[in-house]
Subunit: 259 residues, 2 copies
Amino acid sequence: MNETVMKLGSCGKCEQCPVHHRSICRAASAEAMQELSRLSHTRNFEKGTVIVAQGDEADIVGNVVSGVVKLTNMSMSGQQNIVGLLFPSDFFGRAYAETSRFSYEAATDVTLCSLGRQAFEGFIARHPEVEHALLLNTLDELDAAREWAAMTSCHTTMQRVATFLFILSQRSDNRFCHSGDKIPHVIIALPIGRRDIAAYLGTTPETLSRNLQTLVRKQILRPIDTNHFELVNASELVELTGEMREDLESMYGTGKLKA
Amino acid sequence: MNETVMKLGSCGKCEQCPVHHRSICRAASAEAMQELSRLSHTRNFEKGTVIVAQGDEADIVGNVVSGVVKLTNMSMSGQQNIVGLLFPSDFFGRAYAETSRFSYEAATDVTLCSLGRQAFEGFIARHPEVEHALLLNTLDELDAAREWAAMTSCHTTMQRVATFLFILSQRSDNRFCHSGDKIPHVIIALPIGRRDIAAYLGTTPETLSRNLQTLVRKQILRPIDTNHFELVNASELVELTGEMREDLESMYGTGKLKA
DNA sequence: CGCTCATTTGACAGAAATCAAAAGCGGTGG
DNA sequence: CCACCGCTTTTGATTTCTGTCAAATGAGCG
């Protein structure tokens, strides 16, 4: 790596971004990428920080580089519904809107590659190939959101829990576990607390906890600590989702868990 | 109307379309509109017809001109979940995908303005202003889908029913009812059958029916015929939704009931 | 009229929310 | 190091809701 080039701040930054080949930036031409490098900057947020509040000016957009962002919708009763989770490489923020209809909150410590919304809109107007990528990305997210909505409205709680865990198990940031056995098992890391997961799945922490314990009793999961489970029997987990594996994988592949 | 011009088939057709000022076509320049007139044609589908089946080649896109289209997702168990409803002026089909992840089915007799998917993709590439409109439209739909998903996952059945009815009551095609009283009441027209509404709301026809009858007993609704109710007490209906009125109205404003 | 299909109503069982309390975990300060 | 506190998670008991099964009613139609 050429440190001099990096210090100039206008070249190469994006090429070294760990997610640039998966985010919408992948569509950017070399020149566009240089311009992006100038316009964008990474920002860190501590767990729990509200990055954009519901109703606020939606003046930041960008990509999640690391960590998990919660998308939430506050209802009148003061109850916060989790509308989606954003993982690394997911696009973040709401282009072309004055205010945000949702809150964006750091569910873990988060690194974002951010730029001003209006700067982004100008950039996109100059680079149709990126606008096109954003369109494709948004269409995929819409499909995923609809599929998730279908999931939640017609399935039992256990099916939703199993689906959620399966999707989490497919994410790349899971370490393997060599517990002396021949086959390495995936470690499922729950990125957020039980309360939030329950809200996301449309249930209560109590019911979620019971379902998780049922999975442990069935030897499908093995608890490591509160937020980590070893996935012992993936195929039985898929059984419990009541969906076809391909459908689940397509949900993962394009929608990356966003609802 | 100039019939001669209409018969030429290449001019003016779209200008007379009842939804062209609300659909994404509104962004099209005069030339683009002419090209659209050439490329598109209206098609009628009887109630119940499957227009595009899940997994099929998604080779038709367009706009709903009249009627209601059901977006459905068949789960492994054979159960069909309703993922969204498309009303006049809503965009229809899935651009940039080989196959459709959902089925599109005529919920009522339907008129579509359709064109081939690839023709549409080519058209859009030549007319960036339309691509941009499609992007804006898709972003709005995504917000609406997420909001609907949040709705369905955290509310009781009655809250979902009340929300659905409230949104319907906001639709412009509702006539007023002067029943001798001073205040005219809105007539809520259920565009589709109970079975479909129930699937959309993630419940069963039986439970839906019970909830509707409860609303009638509470004097919030008054039945006119099977598919029409007079909304007697709108504010109590809003109470039952548990949402803020503004939120509901924004949902109507942009999302038009799509999930 | 008799047919079919959609909707409503009833009875019941099962699932999940609620209420309540115990256990686990991570801090802080003595 | 330990005790204390606040928090999250788990477990238990109970009630409420909703899905299921079944039957009655009503609407549209030849």
